[in-house]
Amino acid sequence: MIPLSWYLIVAAAIFCIGIYGVLARKNAVGILMGIELMLNAVILNLVAFWRYLTPSLIGGQAFAVIVFAVAASEAAVGLALIISIYRRHSTVVADEINMLKW
């Protein structure tokens, strides 16, 4: 049998790799990929906890499905923003997108 902690460690690893991607990547699309990794780790955590602690309540799965919807919306809007910025300023480097900075 697989202990719950194994799933949690894998999810933590994916989450931390995603954090590194968000913090270190220059390209805004790369940053978004890091965010997707983090969200996926969160969903893995949710499902693992559902399976090991409350499999008789379907809430865990419903929660995961809602997170899927949020992830899809986030990716759609985020990428639309990146494309819009690219068309207006010809850059996708997050450091160069500083129109709102003083």
Partner: protein, 179 residues
Amino acid sequence: MTIAQIIFIAISAITVIASILVVASRNLVHAALWLVLSLAGVAVLFVLLQASFLAVVQVVIYIGAIAILIIFAVMLTRRVMRETKPQVNRYWWIGALAALLLFVTLVVILNQVPSAASSVSELPLPEEDLLSMLGTALVDVDGFVLPFEVASVLLLAALIGSLVIARPIKLDAEEGDEA
């Protein structure tokens, strides 16, 4: 070691390595393809967790839709990023340090949590069909009907919002910018 454990270790190794390649590869198209592999690995983990529906959803939404969207976005914006330049910013080592520290902290905490995280075996699944249970729960007044409808509104807002943001620029009376 049981068969399930061996499968789990192999799949998680593939998933974690693919995730590392997502953040490490210089070519963003390759990064997106590694992202697909990583997401597929998580889908297999869902199968091991006996959440079949979520495994299918993972493939349909994440691999079939979000990863494709990311690849399209890379294709749309790739002209400015040359792969020869470094793809990380000046403070990448701080990011690496923060991620590593967080991972170590999480593992240490995980070892100290008394009962919940140390459960070794799955509890038995309910007798009924999980999928129709989920379907009923999503539209039940005592269940998740509010998140269900709010998700619909969220998707509507995301659709309209991103369409307005991403529309071709010539509709914004700013012609000639698209060359």
